[in-house]
Symmetry: C2
Subunit: 465 residues, 2 copies
């Protein structure tokens, strides 16, 4: 979908600003897939990291993607599919023979396999699971049984667990012989005969202890573990707050069932902040860069309709003052300024509040303080800006009374902005609704209505219109 004309007009950019997969590489790969030259394709794309391979998949025209997978064969690492947009992944999986998918999934860690399987159609997924070897099938089915967005979906089910009475030497010997160890791991778990978690030992501590040291002597008992059904956002917050690199996952009976590693969590942390950012910008969380015009337009439409409704509400407030506007057209010219400044100041307060709630920096302990602070900030900046606005408007229309009226209306609206910019997200949070999603619409409704009503109402009264 590249636009060659546009691109050749663009100036050169430094290497670090460049995307890893260049347009030239995409073109070369596309050409090679068309000719079916497997050897050349392996030279071009066989050594790519799974993240880069994913970017290549997404950049190729959809009809060539299955060819890439088939021609690369064993050199196509299916983990690349965890790096592409959901729509790209589902379309490609739809086009691939079941056998290819089964082969690809067998080489993956269980968390990656679950990630790829979870959004597929039930029927297709069942067909694939059926053809996987029993142990893989059991592990994946178990992972898929946990709720969406839970720790259980993110966890890796291969891990190393030993009893506390083993020595370091025996543990190391066990590791050397183990067949189904995970690809990489950072700590081992210590369990009792019922598989209940007793503690963890980081690998560096094993390496630094003598062979005859008993595991129970070096284990961490104070472990932050998570339940498999726990929400991944909560888990991510803990990882970030307590600087975790990996953590055990347990079932309701405290038995060890898997391990979470920070590389999966990093993406969750990023996604949650990203979702707030998008929500504040009026964009749905599931919109993707690869979406078509129709998909994108459809996703954004509902929010715009809601905004149309609130805009009509604001207009109806203006409609109350048509007489005043007819007598004094300067009011029409100036009124958007008061509303717009309130909207901007309110958005500042709201942005800070929404994020502090999301990171739990803001809670019951300090919510009172933030409301008071934002109201005072609104008042302070309101007074300063009112001087500028009042003078500007007064001089423009050579009417100092008009300047005084608009200045007063601005101060009121800036206080309203600070108050509702904090109260609205705090209220949503208390109602257990996501404050990022709807706060903006409510806020601008309040600041628009208060801006128009305050200014036009005050002017009508002052000038006796």
């Amino acid at each position: 979908m590249a636009e060659p004309e546009l691109q050749t007009e663009e100036p050169e950019v430094e290497g670090d600003e460049e995307q890893a997969i260049t347009a030239a590489l995409v073109e070369a790969v596309a050409e090679t897939i068309r000719t079916g030259d497997a050897e050349r394709l392996r030279t071009l794309a066989g050594d790519l990291h799974e993240a880069d391979l994913g970017e290549l998949v997404a950049a190729l025209p959809a009809d060539l993607r299955p060819g890439l997978v088939e021609l690369l064969g064993e050199d196509f690492h299916f983990a690349a599919l965890t790096e592409v947009d959901e729509s790209v992944r589902l379309e490609l999986l739809e086009d691939l023979p079941t056998e290819t998918i089964v082969e690809g999934l067998r080489d993956l860690d269980s968390d990656d396999a679950v990630y790829i399987l979870e959004d597929m159609e039930d029927e297709d997924r069942a067909e694939i699971l059926e053809r996987l070897p029993l142990p893989d099938r059991v592990a994946l089915t178990r992972g898929l049984d946990f709720p969406e967005e839970s720790a259980g979906r993110l966890m890796q089910t291969d891990f190393v667990a030993v009893p506390p009475f083993w020595t370091v030497g025996r543990t190391i010997d066990h590791l050397r012989e183990m067949e189904d160890a995970p690809e990489t791991f950072y700590e081992i778990f210590v369990i009792d005969p019922y598989f209940k978690l007793i503690g963890t030992v980081p690998l560096d501590r094993i390496l630094r202890s003598t062979r005859n040291t008993r595991i129970e002597k070096i284990l961490n008992e104070d472990v932050r573990s998570f339940e498999a059904t726990q929400d991944r956002e909560e888990v991510a917050r803990s990882f970030q707050r307590y600087n975790l690199v990996s953590a055990p996952v347990t079932d309701p009976d405290d038995r060890l069932v898997g391990v979470l590693t920070v590389d999966d969590i990093v993406d969750v942390i990023q996604q949650e902040t990203e979702e707030d950012l998008r929500a504040l910008g009026g964009v749905m969380g599931d919109e993707e860069l690869s979406d078509t015009v129709v998909e994108t337009a459809r996703g954004r439409f509902p929010w715009l309709v809601v905004n149309l409704g609130t805009a009509f509400l604001a207009a109806s407030v203006i409609g109350l003052f048509t007489k005043s506007l007819e007598h004094m057209v300067a009011l029409a010219v100036l009124m958007p300024i008061v509303a717009s400044m309130g909207g901007n100041a309110g958005t500042q307060a709201m942005t800070v509040t929404v994020r502090a709630l999301a990171t739990r920096e803001l809670g019951r302990r300090n919510s009172g303080r933030i409301v008071v602070r934002e109201v005072l900030v609104g008042a302070a900046n309101g007074v300063l800006l009112a001087v500028l606005l009042g003078a500007g408007a007064g001089l423009w229309f050579k009417n100092l009374d008009l300047g005084a009226v608009i200045a007063s209306a601005l101060i009121v609206n800036m206080v309203v902005a600070g108050l509702f910019g904090t109260i609205i997200p705090l209220t949503f949070h208390k109602l257990k609704l996501d404050p990022a999603v709807a706060s903006g619409v409510f806020l601008t409704t309040f600041t628009d209505v208060s801006g128009f009503f305050g200014f036009l109402g005050l002017a009508t009264w002052w000038f006796g219109l």
Copy 2:
């Protein structure tokens, strides 16, 4: 600064929604500091994780914070200071005796010590460095010499490096004897006699290899390493993209100088997204929840002044049409709707573009496609919303011509919104300016001007006003 009245009125929330440090604990700790009961303080706060201890520090009144540090003594882990807002940290460090700070820093990993020292006054920092033991002083001074926001500032200078001809057995013996190993580590580095990096070996691979395996047989040669002067944002993107847990840092001569671990990088990833989110909301990156009213108001004021300027610009466009407004006051009632819808649709397009640029999902290869897509999305939603708006306005004012005029103006403004919502951030990016910071102001200027001019201009022409 808690507001007890507000809090008692709040309903109970679940434990997971609760902040880790409750108002009750803060009160108990404050009381204990006042009475100077060190033993009780250790019971209350001695076992807290450094992140929770940091939250406690921030929640205490400023004058009690030095007392907490002094009374806890060795049980106050200075890493807690890396978890609090900069203003809280600097104020506390100002109030603590140099000797206490020196003792606290000695126990820290070098990256945490650099983090605490970097924002202090040059004079205070020099005094502290002077009193530290020579090896610590050299390591920290070196870290502080790297540019702000560079990999060198984030890295930890203690690491394990061995020559390639060592065996796994000798490496393990070395680790068991090592005195100054870092607190935790996940891989060891392989270097040549000149300290140049040859490769890395993850700890699990050492544990899984037999004692007589030579390190060169099991090392990763394909290592993602970073230069100490590299920007931390770029480093964070690589960590996230390639799922890194730790990575070596080298000097310009390729010599190993330190190691970066993902726990430090997680915060960078979060901060960079957070900065974009704040910038889009018109809030400066360095604003903190602990800031006072004056600090907050001062930080937000410049952005509001810029917005006042653009609001005047939009008002001056309306000023061109005072005659039309006098003849047809319905125009004044309806005109904010067209401007507001354009602003909202443009913000949607801008939000998506700014983030895709930040994550490098969007680059030269696909920037043409996104502009075209957003213009078409604007046109498509514009047509649909124009039907609603046109019908609504036409019925409200019983004037179908007015409905047709506002419908046409909306379509134009929605296309303008899609075009400038993408073009503005892409242009900032190409000029190597942060697209998140100023895009919003420019965008709403365009959508306001185009909204008012389009609607009032079209109406003036149509109705011959």
